[in-house]
Symmetry: C2
Subunit: 874 residues, 2 copies
């Protein structure tokens, strides 16, 4: 029979999945002999049962709860509902991972009209007893019975007004009795029944409320953002109350074993005497720093200091602890690995190794790779941020902080930067490839539509630039060049805005930012990571600038150099459009001839920057209509420039129109229809490599063919490449090695990888497209569908946003096996957005890829994640 | 070392892949001791080598050809290029499958200026020798050197004019010498060199020409239409010449062992005395029927009759033979299994069994299932067809023949049929679901755009209705209601047109048709097929009418009943549109309430018709925007009817717009967003089943959820269905069994089929969508891409049109294995277009599906194909 309830001394820290983080650590501390109030944990499995049993605690579990409760009563020698010696408890949620969205705490449970009297007598403190009772009524009503807290606060305020007192602490016992009376009346009005007097009912209702809170909207949203599965469930901790508000020898506090902001090895925290936890949070009285406890109660301080040391040594990590002092006696209420800033995380990890507490491997495993993001991007100066108002919230699409004047058009943004030297935020409904240059000159990008994988988001992450996407709380009118925030305030072109790409917050003013600063500890951690990882890390980079950033952050090559962005630059977009509207291969070739030297220079720049590290260049991928304007005016203008009629251009654009462009004329299909393009690109790549090598370089270009679905298609395009490359090389009179490989981004390519590998020297998984096709879900259209799916609890997060290890992963495994079977030394990489995601990197490591490629600014994250994978998969 | 050349007596009929059909049969006849002129075959592998070696016959193969040639010379005792005893040969192509698109024959090879003199002396017939030479020059120049035949014909005509003679046969030896002179001069002019005099050069050039002809446009087109792989290559047969034109004891003819039109067991054919094969084809003299040979040369006739009998007995099939009589001696030049009409195929198969020559199994294997199409659809009356002109050619999208007055609008077509009783052909640029009713009342459908899997094609096949699609040779102006044919002639509304859906031919007049007639032999064959097959055959049917047709053709159930077509009918489209524009679930429900009784009647009709056979009903699948108008006028009109503003409706339509609708908001995603729709449909299905069962029926409805990609999605929609169904059943007070299953049409569903099977009682492979997503290729957009791919020889046919057994097939296998692992008794079917394709049916049989479902009119084809699968996969 499953055991659903564990007394603290039955558990330990390794039982986190069953007991939740809080429960497991309370059990562990109990086991260590630390002063922990008695109690027990109702397991996460009980929560799962609760949902399986149609949101009801089954009678067998209820029986087990009360049986364990009775045991605990016997140990502490108090009794539930016994006015002469009442047992009062707290009820707290506690899941595997910390979950701020969930219900937290109910204190003083067990109080009722007669117990409160008993408590008053026992403590000889009527005021304390009724204060506890009114707090309990508020908490229980609010979090369990959904009677809003503000209604109780209104009563409290009314009584304070009547009594003409300012602080809660000035209320007398009688005042509090009156408040309890009014609270109970409010409860009766709201719920149509008396406030529950039976402590057993209070307990079961509270536990159910914790279980319910697992699925409240905030919790679901939090889980979605943090990749926490919905079926984990939460545990519930029931624990004897101890009171920090029993007079001047009582108190409560929180402390970290090290400074969570800097990592400094010094006890850090604060406490408040004669207070309960919620008073600390309320901020009415200013807490004292933990050092001062040494003056107030030196023995207690010393005991706490030793416990802190013991805990840190025990957990081998910085601890975040809660404690209460009840009439001079110290109780530990919680310990956990403390949250810390990225910089602190680096320092603590390095320090713990030099202190001999951790090995390098262990230290690496303690750092959350995602946290490194904060080290790599500008952040707001905290004191400036404090006074700023959030005027809207969008998706945290690309991390970092930015402030600038807003422009609604890429060209306007460019002008503002280049001509007037302004700092700029580009505001668009959504971005398209035409906006690339405008995005590049901006501090940050704000879009009204599009998700975490929209064009704006993907490109911004590639640029390491702050981006808030899909911000539907603002109304953007691109034509009128105005924007309205969620309060209805209007912002005009040139007005200031600040964006936080790590939270999605938008501020209606300029907030000062500070640049990222990489400390020596960061370098040490990266060095250690490189020591252990076996996966190579490359970056996705389309320009010498990106390449330089990537190299400086430790990239070992470029895994994806997209060539389409290049065509949008001013010096070639016109020639490229001439190519598109060309009537025959001849005219197409003529236009391409103009692009060739410019494109060659692109590659010379990148190859030079990369100093012989491998560079994988993908041939043109997007459908050609993406390069043509959509608006009537723009079409007319372009037609004029091209020297053709508007009708002709319009009809060309219509001809290029596709019902499902995602599955249309793009990728290598372009090279089949217009071999001239692939030939020109190959020539540019090979000539660039030859030129760089002539000056002492050692480039071995890797030419990548996108969107292959059949071996014959690969053979055809490969032949174009090889014929061109070999003839250019032969003409040059010197030798050059190069490789030809393919993206695996269509399910059929993965399924027939054994065949494909006959002609592909390397595979690079394009998991963005592969995911969309495997799910049959276009990420451009997923928006509204996803909302319905979240509501129906079918999806917990956008399935295209992270690597689906089950379905897409199965295809990848098939491809890896097939590829290696045919060509044992095949190079295998991933260049989708997922290449920078730690969980996906771990998956890539496990299925045996050679490298991952990600945005330059995610390279350090990937290095650490790869090291963690290598360590944990030995 | 590979052997590339086989003398006829080294081969046999089983070596068809290597020697080609013609070569293998010549070898077999040689082995049977029949009178076959000596010769040898250059293998298909030599052809493959030719292409691998950059279109050049390698020297080792050339050596082998001449070595074998020398052996043959020794046997026949003649010598290549020896005027005193010249060896003359024919060179013929011969691939595995008959390929009318390829080069056929060069006769008299070996002749040159001196050999022709020798031949004249040897035969004592100068006229014959020069006639042979001028024929050889023409053929060699035309098919090998690409000098057009008409230029030679012009010379021939000129000489005839000069000599004032009417028939070639009236030309004297001197005339022919003059012609040869002029022919050679023409050749020199055209090619800049003398006509080749070296027989060895003639031979090698001719063999290369045959190899080249394997990849000419006609051959490629033929292969595409007949699913013949491009890498088979062709063999070349080099054979001693025999002459049917050596006087009145010589002749040539073709004959079948049975009547190829009716199947009657009687020698059938024709011959011409003193003639070569091409004279028979030229049709200048009228050939005599084969019976008459008995009068002309009774001994030769008797010898031929016995050979025919021997060959039929040997091959156990009706033979199609070519023969030549040279100065009284009979030579067999070819035998092969004869092509026959569908009716003849049935009769011959049944007769061969009753004659004891074949077992039932063997007989079934002899019939090409695709041929049955002709038996099931109307055909033109042949004599009426003969005088008709093809005014355009499109794709043979749905077989059958039809004549009718043209209308350019579904509503006009309906009116013409319903009000004026006209026979109608619907002509559209392309059809959409709104045209369904108009298509249904028409005799046939002609579209200007769209391929074999376009809406028009798919729906027409489902209706068993003639359709020619993608006919770009006509210019259709739907607004002006006119059409222009390829000659520029204009057709107005109401003009007559005839369509042949089996060939794609369009005729500009009314041609009489005759209805399909199913003979007793057809029934016998179907009975035999049912005896052996293990696959069940179901039909895709959306109406009681379709269901009745399906049953009558032997369907054992409905594998796919699409519900979307139902919504387009006049009595509900309005309510359905109200549902789409509804502002909330409440309004949506109200609209759906109106549809419920009508939808219930749909199902009552189908269940009643199907008499307890299983019926799989798919819930609504297409995106909702398909149900709304696209044109401004129509939008305005509908807005008025709906009582909302045009702007509101337009904005609703825009909101529903998707970038990639194929991967957008459709299938079960609709049921997640609008559960009311699935609930209404379930209620209609269950209530209908209850109603029919109350009247003695035994319906067990199978409810199918489309477009599932994740088990949780399936669970969600299944719960809607089960909750609704169970409550309707409970209310009815009687029991009802029903099943809930899913389409497997998204790659991820196939990849996670083991999970999906936990909640799906059956799978039905939707291979249309599965193929598109597996290839990342939208069939709506594939048109232009495919042309480029055919040209580049990457694809030989539309990969979405037939089941890709390699890629898509791999996914299907994964799904079958996963499904059976979880649920060993899971029902597995296929309901994509491929369910009616013999090769795909064989694949379905082999991977262990339970049934295939296809258009009603393809059910007999599927029954036969399934039997053939069962027989050949024992």
């Amino acid at each position: 029979m499953t055991k659903y309830v564990y007394v603290f001394n039955e558990g330990n820290a390794s039982m986190r999945n069953l007991l939740g983080g809080k429960g497991a650590n309370l059990a562990e501390m109990t086991g260590l002999g630390l002063p922990v109030p008695r109690g027990f944990t109702v397991t996460t499995e009980a929560c799962t049962r609760y949902y399986a049993d149609a949101e009801k605690i089954a009678s067998d579990i209820e029986d087990e709860i009360f049986a364990t409760f009775a045991k605990t009563e016997a140990i502490v020698g108090k009794k539930f509902g016994d006015p002469s010696n009442p047992f009062l408890v707290s009820v707290r949620s506690g899941s595997r991972a910390s979950m701020p969205g969930m219900m937290d705490t109910i204190l003083n449970l067990g109080l009722n009209d007669s117990v409160v009297e008993g408590l008053a007598k026992l403590t000889e403190n009527e005021r304390f007893a009724y204060d506890s009772y009114r707090r309990f009524i508020t908490m229980f009503s609010d979090v369990v019975m959904e009677v809003e807290k503000k209604k109780f606060d209104a009563i409290l305020d009314a009584v304070k007004e009547e009594k003409k007192v300012h602080f809660d602490t000035d209320l007398t016992a009688d005042d509090l009795k009156e408040i309890v009376k009014r609270f109970k009346a409010l409860y009766l009005r709201e719920k149509g029944e008396e406030f529950p007097q039976d402590p057993r009912v209070q307990l079961i209702e509270s536990i159910e409320a914790v279980f319910r809170s697992w699925n409240n909207e905030r919790a679901i949203a939090y889980r979605r953002m943090n990749d926490i599965p919905g079926d984990w469930g939460t545990a519930v901790n029931v624990q004897e109350m101890v009171y920090g508000n029993m007079g001047n020898t009582s108190g409560t506090g929180v402390a970290f074993t090290r400074n969570p902001a800097t990592g400094e090895n010094k006890l850090y925290g604060e406490f408040l005497m004669n207070a309960q936890g919620e008073d600390v949070v309320a901020g009415i009285r200013t807490p004292q720093t933990i050092d001062e406890l040494n003056k107030v109660m030196p023995e207690v301080y010393e005991q706490f200091r030793m416990i802190a040391e013991k805990l840190e040594n025990h957990y081998k990590d910085m601890q975040d602890m809660e404690f209460t002092i009840e009439r001079g006696k110290l109780f530990m209420l919680q310990t956990r690995n403390g949250k810390r800033t990225a910089a602190a995380a680096m320092k603590i990890a390095v320090d713990l190794v030099s202190e001999g507490m951790l090995t390098k491997k262990d230290a690496l495993m303690k750092i959350d790779p995602k946290q490194l993001d904060a080290l790599l991007h500008p952040t707001f100066i905290q004191k400036d941020l404090k006074s700023a108002t959030v005027i809207a919230k969008g998706l945290p699409a690309s991390p970092g902080a930015a402030a600038g004047r807003i422009y609604f058009d890429a060209a306007d943004a460019e002008k503002a930067v280049n001509e007037r030297g302004e700092k700029v935020i580009l505001v668009r409904l959504e971005t398209s490839p035409e906006d690339i240059v405008g995005m590049d000159v901006s501090q940050g990008i704000l879009t009204g539509r599009g998700g975490m994988t929209s064009h704006a988001a993907v490109v911004a992450r590639g640029m390491g630039k702050c981006c808030v996407s899909g911000c539907s709380e603002v109304v953007i009118d691109e034509d009128k060049k105005i924007m309205k925030d969620k309060f209805g305030k209007v912002y005009n072109e040139g007005d200031w805005l600040s964006l936080d790409g790590s939270t999605g917050n938008v501020y209606g003013e300029a907030i000062n930012t500070q640049d990222a600063e990489l400390t020596g500890d960061f370098g040490t951690i990266m060095e250690w990571a490189d020591e252990f990882r076996t996966l190579k890390i490359r970056a996705n980079a389309d320009s010498p600038k990106d390449a330089a950033v990537a190299l400086s952050l430790g990239a070992e090559g470029i895994g994806l150099c997209r060539t389409e962005h290049m065509f949008f630059e001013a010096d070639r977009i016109f020639a490229f459009r001439q190519m598109i509207v060309a009537k025959d291969a001849e005219a197409r070739k003529k236009a391409l001839d103009k692009i060739l030297p410019i494109q060659r220079e692109d590659f010379v720049g990148i190859f030079t920057e990369m100093k012989g590290h491998p560079v994988t260049i993908r041939l043109l991928d997007p459908p050609l209509h993406e390069f043509l304007p959509k608006e009537e005016d723009d079409i007319a203008e372009l037609a004029k420039e091209l020297g053709i009629s508007s009708e002709e251009l319009t009809s060309k654009i219509e001809m290029l129109h596709e019902l499902n462009p995602m599955m249309g004329h793009r990728g290598c299909r372009l090279a089949v229809s217009y071999p001239e393009i692939a030939v020109m690109q190959t020539r540019a790549i090979i000539e660039a490599a030859l030129a760089v090598n002539k000056n002492g370089g050692s480039v071995i270009p890797e030419i990548m063919i996108p969107l292959v679905c059949d071996i014959k298609e690969l053979k055809f395009v490969k032949k174009l490449i090889v014929d061109t490359a070999d003839s250019v090389i032969a003409d040059s009179g010197v030798g050059l090695k190069y490789m030809v490989g393919t993206m695996i981004e269509i399910p059929r390519a993965a399924l027939t990888a054994d065949e494909i590998a006959k002609d592909a020297e390397f595979f690079s998984f394009g998991t963005n497209d592969l995911t969309q096709m495997t799910y049959g879900l276009s990420r451009d259209d997923a928006g509204r569908i996803l909302d319905d799916y979240y509501r129906a609890k079918i999806f917990e997060s956008d399935p295209t946003a992270k690597l689906d290890q089950i379905g897409v992963g199965k295809l990848m495994k098939i491809a890896v096996e097939g590829g290696k079977e045919t060509r044992p030394d095949i190079k295998l990489g991933i260049c989708g957005e997922h290449g920078g995601d730690p969980a996906s990197i771990d998956f890539c490591h496990r299925i045996g890829l050679s490298y991952v490629s990600c945005s330059p600014f995610r390279v350090p994250i990937a290095r650490l994640a790869a090291a963690q994978s290598a360590i944990s998969n030995i």
